[in-house]
């Protein structure tokens, strides 16, 4: 049965016991995203920091929302995978997750990069659920962009030499 492949135990675990749920302060940006086809909603905040070498770090992702198990579990996995990583790593993980989910099942997930996120591979076979799985990830990317916009900085991935003290003009 295919729904078993969709509803991996890992997904249901994250759904029942979400990691990092709840809105926290301080934060660099906050966004509200909805999935208008099913009414899933998420409020998501990012908190940024710097490591010793000046790289932008994802210090926290805090979120609250309502929705199906796929959208809620995916927010939990996002938090799990991305908090504590550099922005560059976070964007690479986001890219890999997005690619897997949009692949209609043709891409094998890289578990080293995606960890628990690999359990979402089954979602790719259900086009109607892709938006559920991506809701929090899109919100995360949007929040990052907004955080940079308000600071007047650019997203790490777009920097030629990330965070070396120069302000990209």
């Amino acid at each position: 049965m295919d729904v078993d492949a969709l509803y991996q135990e890992i997904i249901l675990d994250h759904y029942r016991n979400p990691v990092g749920k709840g809105l926290r302060e301080p934060f660099a940006a906050e966004v509200h995203h909805v999935n208008p086809t099913c009414g899933d909603e998420i409020d998501l905040r990012v908190t940024l920091g710097r490591d010793e070498s000046g790289h932008t770090m994802i210090d926290d992702i805090s979120y609250d929302g309502q929705g199906c198990s796929i959208s809620q579990a995916s927010a939990s996995v996002l938090h799990d995978l991305v908090v504590g990583k550099s922005e560059q790593e976070a964007l690479a993980i986001e890219g890999a997750f997005h690619e897997m989910i949009s692949s209609r099942g043709r891409t094998e997930p890289d578990e080293d990069v995606l960890g628990d996120g690999a359990a979402f591979a089954g979602v790719a076979k259900y086009p109607a659920r892709v938006k559920c799985a991506l809701l929090s990830w899109m919100a995360f990317k949007d929040a990052l962009l907004q955080a940079h916009a308000s600071e007047g900085t650019a997203l790490t991935a777009f920097d030629a030499e990330p965070d070396n003290g120069r302000n990209p003009q």
């Binding site: 295919d2 729904v3 509803y7 099913c38 009414g39 309502q66 199906c68 198990s69 559920c132």
Partner: protein, 436 residues
């Protein structure tokens, strides 16, 4: 090929009806029998409708109301003949029925008659006789209800934004019925339009058209009815309803997609400024300006959907052969079965009336501990097609205190075994998510 014979009177032959709908023979998700319970979203099509469309394309296709050749003549006859057939289905005169793309377009057509007349009047343009009632001033009021499909809400919000009119709404009770007692305080001298649904696509509630239209008439408002969910499911005789405009979609009543109808009271239609303009809807055209044809032509710009009209006329034949009263009775039996089954299931809350009086076959519900989207997925795995989400009635969901619902909506081609398959799959889902 297949010609539908009239069903023998008094006998509801389920297997024969099912056999008329080719799609119901297919399987889904690894060979499961398709249990289609999403007819409030769109209905399936009997072979006679598909054949009618094909026959039109194979024998008579041409642009209607244009061209001097025999095909154009026959296509025009097919188109206008279909209009007459569809009008008869709702007791109306052919000239009072405008073809639109769907109900959404029909409702927009009415809303735009207001915004276009209002915009034109500002610049002193000539309006049709009686067109002044379509000119809105800031502070005028438009009344809808809290159970509207977005199609009967957003166009009015937009109209308000364009004209300064104010949107008001009749609230619903916890049971999911209109709170008609509140009407007196909501309708008033500034109410210009009262637009409401005959039958809610989310709650299943059937509204009292007479009570609403009487109140609207008392303040001189235009009365608009969204009959998307009623005309496919019960006999509706439009002239006996005291309303000015009725919009519905063909695809929910066994007809093709891409065609809907808007019935307009003739004196109202005459006074209306057109919505979409261009070819076919004009009377005379010069470089500087144009005058418009009489209704319904005034509201049908461009080459229309002829094959779809032919298909919808065939759908009316099919429905009439079964009999709308018999269809309604059959649906009521199925609805009772759904409601009884849900009442027996732990953790289920029906969103909408739970008695079968004045309610249609669309039944929305939530299950404790399972999000509708997840429930729909497991039902789908068992071959049971339902709709989940806010059903384009997001404010109604909010009012009822739920983010989304699961909705089953049986129609004439469903039978007890479909309802039982749904209820069994519902039990499976509860076990699957560990809430049994």
């Amino acid at each position: 090929m297949t010609i539908i014979e009239a069903p023998s009177v008094g006998v509801w032959d389920e297997s024969r009806i099912r056999g008329d709908f080719p799609i119901l023979a297919r399987t889904v998700r690894e060979g499961r029998r398709l249990v289609y319970l999403d007819s409030a979203a769109t209905s399936q099509k009997p072979r006679s409708v598909l054949d009618a469309e094909r026959r039109y394309y194979e024998t008579a296709n041409a642009a209607v109301h244009r061209g001097a050749h025999q095909l154009a003549e026959e296509a025009t006859e097919a188109y206008e003949g279909s209009r007459a057939r569809i009008a008869a289905f709702v007791g109306a005169r052919p000239d009072d029925v405008v073809f639109t793309r769907n109900a959404t377009e029909g409702l927009n057509l009415v809303a735009y008659a207001f915004s276009n007349a209002t915009a034109k009047s500002i610049h002193g343009a000539v309006l049709p006789d009686g067109g002044a009632r379509f000119v809105l001033a800031p502070g005028d009021e438009i009344v809808v209800t809290e159970m509207e499909h977005h199609a009967n809400l957003v166009p009015w919000q937009e109209l308000c934004a364009k004209t300064g009119a104010v949107l008001r709404w009749i609230p619903i009770t916890d049971e999911g019925r209109l709170d008609l007692a509140s009407m007196d305080s909501i309708l008033g001298p500034r109410t210009k339009v009262v637009s409401f649904t005959h039958q809610s696509n989310l709650l299943g509630t059937i509204n009292d058209v007479g009570a609403l239209s009487r109140a609207a008439r008392a303040v001189g408002a235009l009365v608009v009815l969204d009959a998307c969910q009623s005309i496919p499911h019960q006999a509706v005789d439009i002239p006996s309803l005291d309303v000015d405009a009725v919009a519905w979609s063909g695809h929910k009543m066994l007809g093709p997609t891409g065609i809907g109808c808007l019935w307009l009271r003739p004196e109202v239609a005459e006074a209306m400024t057109p919505f979409i303009t261009g070819g076919s809807m004009i009377e005379t055209v010069t470089m500087a300006e144009s005058t418009f044809a009489a209704p319904p032509t005034r509201f049908e710009a461009g080459v229309p959907m002829v094959a779809q009209a032919v298909g919808l006329a065939a759908a009316c034949d099919y429905l009439d052969e079964l009999g709308m009263a018999e269809i309604a009775a059959h649906e009521q039996r199925l609805t009772r079965r759904v409601l009884d089954g849900l009442a027996r299931t732990t953790g289920v809350r029906v969103i909408g009336p739970t008695d079968s009086h004045s309610r249609g076959s669309a039944v929305s519900f939530v299950v404790e501990g399972i999000h509708p989207h997840d429930l729909g997925q497991v039902l789908d795995d068992r071959g049971v097609a339902v709709r989940v989400g806010h059903h384009c009635a997001w404010p109604t969901c909010r009012r009822m205190g739920v983010p989304a619902t699961t909705r089953v909506s049986p129609y004439l081609y469903n039978d007890d075994s479909d309802i039982d398959a749904f209820l069994a799959a519902l039990d499976d889902s509860r076990a699957f998510f560990g809430v049994a």
